[in-house]
Symmetry: D2
Subunit: 272 residues, 4 copies
Amino acid sequence: MNPAFLKASAMPDVQSTLDERALPIEQVGIRGVRHPLMIRSATGNFPSVGTFEMDVALPAHVKGTHMSRFMALLQKQDDAVDSTTVVALVKEMLPLLDAKQGHIQFTYTHFVKKAAPVSGVESLMDYEVTWMANAQLNAAGAMDVQLGLRAQVPVMSLCPCSKEISEFGAHNQRSHVTMTVSLEPNTQMTVEDLVSAAESEASSELWGLLKRPDEKWVTEHSYSNPKFVEDLVRDVAGNLKADQRIQSFVVEAENFESIHNHSAFARISHSK
Amino acid sequence: MNPAFLKASAMPDVQSTLDERALPIEQVGIRGVRHPLMIRSATGNFPSVGTFEMDVALPAHVKGTHMSRFMALLQKQDDAVDSTTVVALVKEMLPLLDAKQGHIQFTYTHFVKKAAPVSGVESLMDYEVTWMANAQLNAAGAMDVQLGLRAQVPVMSLCPCSKEISEFGAHNQRSHVTMTVSLEPNTQMTVEDLVSAAESEASSELWGLLKRPDEKWVTEHSYSNPKFVEDLVRDVAGNLKADQRIQSFVVEAENFESIHNHSAFARISHSK
Amino acid sequence: MNPAFLKASAMPDVQSTLDERALPIEQVGIRGVRHPLMIRSATGNFPSVGTFEMDVALPAHVKGTHMSRFMALLQKQDDAVDSTTVVALVKEMLPLLDAKQGHIQFTYTHFVKKAAPVSGVESLMDYEVTWMANAQLNAAGAMDVQLGLRAQVPVMSLCPCSKEISEFGAHNQRSHVTMTVSLEPNTQMTVEDLVSAAESEASSELWGLLKRPDEKWVTEHSYSNPKFVEDLVRDVAGNLKADQRIQSFVVEAENFESIHNHSAFARISHSK
Amino acid sequence: MNPAFLKASAMPDVQSTLDERALPIEQVGIRGVRHPLMIRSATGNFPSVGTFEMDVALPAHVKGTHMSRFMALLQKQDDAVDSTTVVALVKEMLPLLDAKQGHIQFTYTHFVKKAAPVSGVESLMDYEVTWMANAQLNAAGAMDVQLGLRAQVPVMSLCPCSKEISEFGAHNQRSHVTMTVSLEPNTQMTVEDLVSAAESEASSELWGLLKRPDEKWVTEHSYSNPKFVEDLVRDVAGNLKADQRIQSFVVEAENFESIHNHSAFARISHSK
């Protein structure tokens, strides 16, 4: 064993001293940690990179948490990742950090292989996805875990007003639909399920690769399917409201307006 | 008058039709709008640029809001700006948009002229600041307005553990203290007041321009004043808790660790 | 006088010692410094914020530059800013830093008041603009200064292929045209001149505020004026090539495609 | 076969028409395309995500390139990636796009498993890495390919001046060393080789996970090894100059100063 390491056990442990300011800390931990991930998805595993945030609640009388233990926990993570990963990690984190409450979330790029609407040619679409878990020791000493999922879905929106008032054409643009949902603990909800709740309501969904007949289809389909940012957010909210697996949600749509240099946006939240 | 404009008043107004999805929208509006601002501050006026978000609540039966009215309101803004500006704007916005509830916030770079600690040489320090206002028509038909202020204060933090265990030196780094506070409506709180609640608790505050004797002072002062991210967030929270003008707050400290490629962070929220 | 400051003049001046690595440094200085600016423009003065980069060349035998002098120079800047400002600053910087070569650039948000195409209603459009100056002592001991200007102009592009192959509609999106030009030293070129070289060639320019007849005009105008990213970059390059005030340029167009989640881009550079 | 697709072959092909503006385009293509990647490294394969830019030169008489072919090429990429990948891709791209000149680059997060300096505990460090390849048909009809590599290496820098003038302590901070190198075509240079050219010259390298004896070592090591931004850039440049595999390079060091809210930076370029 490294003798310097042995010597270290005699080092002062400043974090463990008593704190007298009577202020509990709701969250203390690490943020912006990047970690390589294999993602397990409905259409097969794919490589990605997660950016992690891991934290615990700290009682008023404890001076500091042990930051290195978060990283030690994360370094062990090398299994393929799905919705169960963040729950397993947060359950392991609480005892490791001597904490009664804690939270882990990680954001990564999710890929879905999609077939173009006419040619059927396949390509990957990318989405920014976050899995979140909050854990808490309850009165009985057991652990309650809440699972959350966020997906940012890029879509196309075409303006109904522009279409209606113009002799020809209609302005359209890229939009982001961002959904954050709380899930029933044992629910089977995939990222693909959530993504589709947004894509189905857009003027058109997007693809990585389109051939000319596909581009014709997307152009005409979106023109036939105009949506205000208000329509988009309401129609997606309608889908989320109807989904039994979702306990509560926030959905936001943002249009990067092609006729302005700013965005239009709308937001609905709902708790069942 | 422009004849094309006259003709336009006969154009179909798609946004004003009835909506039958029974889903009210909490916030709909514009975002990412940049506008030039003269800021009125304790130490004189200075130029800056605001990035605005303006939105209203939309009842379930109304299809869409009138996006151009937000911009029309903003274009009139050319007075020097202080804490009263966002309140006045939101009060004007509600009737203009036929709304019962609305919100405006803008983020800009705030400058404070500071004297270096030893040489006294003066330079500007920059802070990212946000003023926020929520307005709501109450049962009596009057308007209730809540005012909020956020400031992100860059400071220096020096690690107590590193100092304690090392023969010499101690790692230190830039940190951000971000405070979001709800204010009593008629409170006189300046950005400078809020900034100082964070700078006074850091291992050291920062300056734009330091001469060598100042650099010596900052180095020795921070070494004599080590703080964990937990200490920093608690000591700032203590200041905010003691301030009678503040109704509730969230404070977060984030250290861009000089020994890692990630951040340590801590967060306390409090409602009086 | 502050006694601590007097004592400091006896402090060791590490930066001024000899360096023996035989490696000259092309650029050393400061970056990311924010400073409030009043911008002098064709349509009147407006407030903004500049982000500065200031650097000098360092000969092989000198260990370090004097970082605080860059800031000292910048702190004096409080006049209204135009194309002459960056030239005057760089000329003052060289002797102050004992340098033979140096460079200053600052990026800020430029605002132009524009009238909507049909209603004539006025609003501000925002552009990201950079002024750059390189100075060099020539053999005769005089100073040569090169002046550069960059403007990022947000516009609308409408796809000719989509229009051609579709029964109705055509996808369009926000695009950025970014032009970087070297100017004749005594040239009178305004930001507005450069912006208009890009806006005139887009499927449509953008406005902050549009009423319905304006939106109809923009929709129909862009549909009648489709441009590939290749067309856009070539047509803007044609304008810059024909302008006698411009010695060399790089122009890039980037379309934030509304049918994909990635950009199409094109780039032309030219030296006369 | 899909009948709509058959019909599409009769669609007008706008991009292939003649262009009469006499302006060749140096680069036209796609940007910001994210693609999942397995990275082959010295210490084993790991998952990551690449962000791709792919473009070709377009002669003056050709109106447009075929954007969808870039994506078609990228979709086939699912082998493990190393320095040969970008070269193979660019060689395949030129004939596919009927181009005489082209360029591909992709940026991804590279991970290296490192042992802490005292405890030996292992953790991943993350680096932003870019592989670049330019290909050109030469007079003989063969293809010349130039290979480039960029790595951004986060390190710790400790200020010699602050140490020298202070009774105790010295300010330090996170810094980025960014190296862009041109490589001999058949060179064996790994990302790890390039990263180590920067880490070896910093006041200290960084680790994901450090135990207390490691933190003591990093603190004392960096205090014993102070470097100005000028020292850092020169010492790294010295390493790159001495490396026979490198034809030319640009190296930049940027210190996110812990005593200021801006950066100090320095830059050296060299061609052999």
